[in-house]
Symmetry: C2
Subunit: 100 residues, 2 copies
DNA sequence: TTTTCATTTCACTTAATTGTGATATTAGTA
DNA sequence: TACTAATATCACAATTAAGTGAAATGAAAA
């Protein structure tokens, strides 16, 4: 096991990748399957520039990847840990009767 | 179920409560049982003022609570979800052979 | 009741995040 | 080759987060 502080730094950096309402929305979309950038812009209502930056951040943290099909980029979730965390968040914040 | 954006906002705010190397270190300490502020300062090496602010943030997000014993405050983790997430993070960032 | 200990709050600075319009890139289409 | 579509990058402004010394609070202890 590496040094605690190093682990904490890496884990925090990863968490920061998810800790944004807009990126969580993006991840919720991607949780249902891969989507291209234009689709993500439409469903979330984010500005194009903003979307691009969020996706870059998610890529940087190895949370998503993409494939290119002609000139369209299809993004998808590429990380088991993030799915597990989203599951926890779903139970905590999205289930009926969750007035926590 | 409430509105997606509201849920995303609440979940992101909660995640931001954890998404800091120093707060993760604090939470790791607290995961082994309740600790008073002075103990936390000693084991983490954080400055007193800084520790106080981190604890305030963790309280604000309902991640920790405390009890008073004479003039000492003992903090403890008060949130199931955060323990589950820490478990995910442990496997991802702290286990041997984790060079991810 | 004054002092001391444990902790928080204040005022301030510095750094990081987020969003935006304009511009660039890259791949297909005419 | 020029044009358009899809997406990324740049440069900048605004907001939020994090750290620090000094002062304040609150609860014992002397």
């Amino acid at each position: 096991m590496k040094d605690m502080e190093e682990n904490a730094q890496a884990a925090a950096s990863f968490l920061k990748g998810i800790a944004s309402p807009h990126r969580l929305l993006i991840l919720c979309e991607l949780a249902t399957g891969e989507k291209n950038v234009t689709e993500l812009i439409q469903t979330t209502g984010l500005a194009q520039t903003s979307m691009s930056k969020h996706l870059t951040k998610l890529k940087d943290e190895n949370i998503v990847t993409f494939r290119r099909d002609h000139r369209t980029l299809f993004y998808r979730i590429n990380n088991e840990a993030v799915l597990k965390i989203m599951d926890v968040l779903y139970h905590e914040f999205c289930e009926v009767g969750d007035d926590k």
